[in-house]
């Protein structure tokens, strides 16, 4: 009989793989144990540790909203050894999952407010769990308008095409603003960088929360634009990614000062980040 | 030679690490050498150095 500690992953089957872009895939997974699947309760913004047995683990944010029961989704960009191995798996393969870990987007405090999502590239993945949570039928009326500004390098690099083109634009009181850095013949939408598109759209800070995730350089300029538009540090929320091994505050590598991203994050307000050392 | 001597210095039997120079055209020599070394290693029995204990 083995121990049943928090570092022990649970086997899960990949039931569906969606190719989002050339190097991003979304994996739909279901725990082998139906009771575990039933009892798994993540909150929007949380992460999980995915095991490819024989290679190790990686921290991946849960892309699916907890309002969607019976499965989990993870969108993974092929960057390192583990994510490459994950991309080689097929439907029906087993991986290991443990979690959920970390804090979550403060969806309770966002009730009654307008929400502005600003995402770039794979950075939309962690935001998607919250977007779908807010747009879920049972939650939608508790929140104000939803604006989603999303950009990628090119049309081919846009993730969740079905969501941004079909599902979200047809949701009540929701507008999706999509842009690409470089246009081509197949693209007839907006062309330009996310921060400048944000400036163009200019959503008023009044009663609004801005949530952003994307490449560091995009976040840097998005923050500048938001500040210029009058957003306070409490109104701006982001989610961080650092190297993690344990996910439960023991292995010691994801600390930013005294905070562990795996326990105290990954979601931070800009106000919190400004209190922390710039080591991320 | 340096490598071989170093391995022997740390307790590896000399027969377990051998180097031969065999050209691509010397098939027979290659076969004979492999047979000869295999025989020697078999006589030595299982190696005890650097055995991964991972079961």
């Amino acid at each position: 009989m083995g121990n049943n500690g928090p570092l022990l992953p649970h086997p899960a089957m990949i039931t569906k793989i969606v190719d989002e872009t050339g190097d991003v895939r979304t994996f739909q997974v279901v725990f082998d144990d139906p009771a575990r699947m039933e009892n798994f309760s993540n909150k929007p913004g949380q992460v999980a540790q995915l095991s490819v047995f024989g290679l190790g683990e990686a921290t991946i944010s849960i892309t699916s909203s907890p309002t969607r029961r019976g499965l989990l989704e993870f969108s993974v960009k092929k960057v390192g050894r583990l994510t490459t191995a994950l991309h080689q798996l097929e439907e029906g393969c087993r991986i290991g999952i443990r979690g959920p870990y970390g804090n979550h987007f403060p969806y309770d405090q966002m009730v009654g407010r307008d929400i502005l999502f600003i995402g770039g590239g794979i950075g939309l993945a962690p935001l998607r769990s919250l977007i779908d949570f807010i747009l879920a039928e049972e939650n939608r009326q508790r929140y104000g308008t939803v604006d989603i500004i999303y950009g990628a390098r090119s049309a081919d690099d846009l993730c969740f095409k079905n969501d941004i083109m079909e599902r979200w634009p047809t949701a009540p009181r929701t507008v999706v603003h999509t842009t690409v850095d470089r246009g081509d013949r197949s693209w007839n939408g907006h062309v330009g960088f996310v921060p400048s598109y944000l400036e163009e759209i200019n959503p008023e800070p009044e009663n609004r929360i801005a949530i952003t995730c994307g490449p560091p350089i995009m976040i840097k300029f998005v923050l500048q634009v938001l500040e210029k538009m009058g957003y306070t540090d409490q109104q701006i929320i982001t989610t961080l990614e650092l190297k993690m091994k344990c996910g439960i505050g023991k292995c010691g590598r994801c600390n930013i000062g005294s905070s562990f991203v795996c326990l105290d994050g990954p979601v931070f307000t800009l106000a919190q980040l400004k209190q922390m050392p710039p080591e991320f | 030679m340096i490598m071989k001597r170093l391995l022997e210095f740390t307790g590896l039997e000399p027969e377990r690490f051998q180097a031969r120079w065999i050209s691509g055209s010397e098939g027979a020599k290659f076969a004979a050498t492999v047979q000869e070394i295999t025989e020697q290693i078999k006589n030595l029995g299982p190696n005890t150095k650097m055995r991964d204990t991972d079961e």
């Binding site: 024989g54 190790g56 650092l242 091994k245 292995c251 590598r253 994801c254 600390n255 005294s258 | -």
Partner: protein, 347 residues
């Protein structure tokens, strides 16, 4: 009230302990003192000031199997968690600093996600502390208000006096064990132990030199993250892992899988060090602590601030191992003194 153990009865106590526990005790080997398993005839080192390695390895081993995975039919996978060895361990001769080190590790491996492997070992271990009679030139536990004589955190506290040992149970576990040795122990009717203990206290207290004053350090570091001083320290640092591996409070580890050409294999966790560049290096190439400066700063900040912030218990216990072993004499006491000087400059 401590009991008396005659010096010639020590061996009997040890052999008694070794029957109930797997006993480890300080033994001198290759010029250093290590905790080694008890064997008949093995001489306990009576002169050591501290062991080369702290006893943390008995609770949190350097290499530890966490689980094994086996593929079964239909691509199903079987995951089995590893259990620590069932044997109960007794550590004889833990110093006060190392006991404080264990106290600093407890909240790390406990908390919201208790670690079963650590806590199983922790529950099973019997800690027999041995009070220090003298300090080495690298000792500075006093700086963190750790009493080298009192062995706080031990199940049983032992102090060697002139002609006997004073032995005192501190926990239920300790009382239960000592009850088995009542025929070896005597009562201190004349109060001589008390007198000798106060003599021992005086001796140890005067044997320290150069105790740094860390009182205001955390406060200062709370305000000051960017100090050119860290660059200065980092330029000397070799970037090896000595200080982190021999530290009684360092707890970082890595997790990885080992397979031998088969899909089946094991997952391990091993000590890791924040001094190594790849410790925080991410798959995409980003590294939040890219140079020795950030890494050195993280280590000293962890010892002097972060651990305190998080667990309200010090991250440095003044055992002096890193002071003794650092190849380039990076001395945390000097770091504390230097920061105090910088602090003086601030005001």
């Amino acid at each position: 009230m401590p009991a008396i153990l005659k010096k010639d009865k020590l061996q009997a106590l040890l052999s008694g302990l070794s029957r109930a526990y797997k006993l480890v005790l300080p033994v001198r080997e290759n010029g250093m003192t290590y905790f080694k398993p008890y064997q008949t005839g093995l001489a306990i080192d009576r002169d050591y000031i501290n062991t080369a390695m702290s006893p943390k390895e008995f609770l949190f081993p350097q290499t530890e199997k966490m689980l094994s995975f086996k593929y079964r039919e239909g691509a199903e996978i079987l995951i089995t968690g590893a259990e620590p060895q069932p044997e109960k361990l007794a550590v004889f001769g833990a110093r006060s600093c190392d006991l404080a080190g264990i106290a600093a590790l407890d909240p790390v491996f406990g908390g919201r996600f208790p670690d079963p492997q650590y806590s199983t070992r922790r529950d099973r271990v019997l800690l027999v502390g041995l009070g220090c009679r003298r300090a080495s030139s690298t000792c500075f536990c006093r700086a963190f208000n750790i009493d080298p004589l009192s062995c706080n955190g031990a199940d049983i506290a032992v102090v060697e006096l002139e002609d006997c040992f004073s032995v005192e149970a501190r926990t239920d576990k300790g009382h239960a064990q000592l009850a088995n040795f009542s025929q070896l122990l005597g009562e201190d009717n004349s109060g001589t132990v008390e007198t000798s203990l106060s003599g021992a206290r005086e001796a140890i207290d005067t044997s320290f030199d150069g105790i740094p004053d860390p009182a205001g350090i955390k406060d200062f570091l709370d305000r000051q993250f960017e100090l050119p001083y860290w660059e200065n320290i980092a330029s000397r640092c070799l970037g090896c892992g000595i200080c982190t591996y021999i530290c009684p409070t360092c707890h970082c580890f890595d997790i990885f899988d080992v397979t031998r050409g088969k899909p089946d294999g094991n997952r391990y966790r091993c000590w890791d060090s924040c001094m190594f560049p790849d410790f925080t290096g991410m798959a995409g190439g980003h590294n939040p602590r890219p140079t020795p400066k950030e890494r050195v700063r993280n280590r000293f900040m962890h010892k002097l601030k972060y651990h305190l912030d998080r667990y309200e218990i010090g991250g440095c216990v003044g055992c002096g191992r890193c002071v003794e072993k650092c190849p380039v004499n990076l001395d945390i006491r000097q770091v504390i003194n230097d920061i105090n000087k910088l602090q003086g400059g601030e005001n």
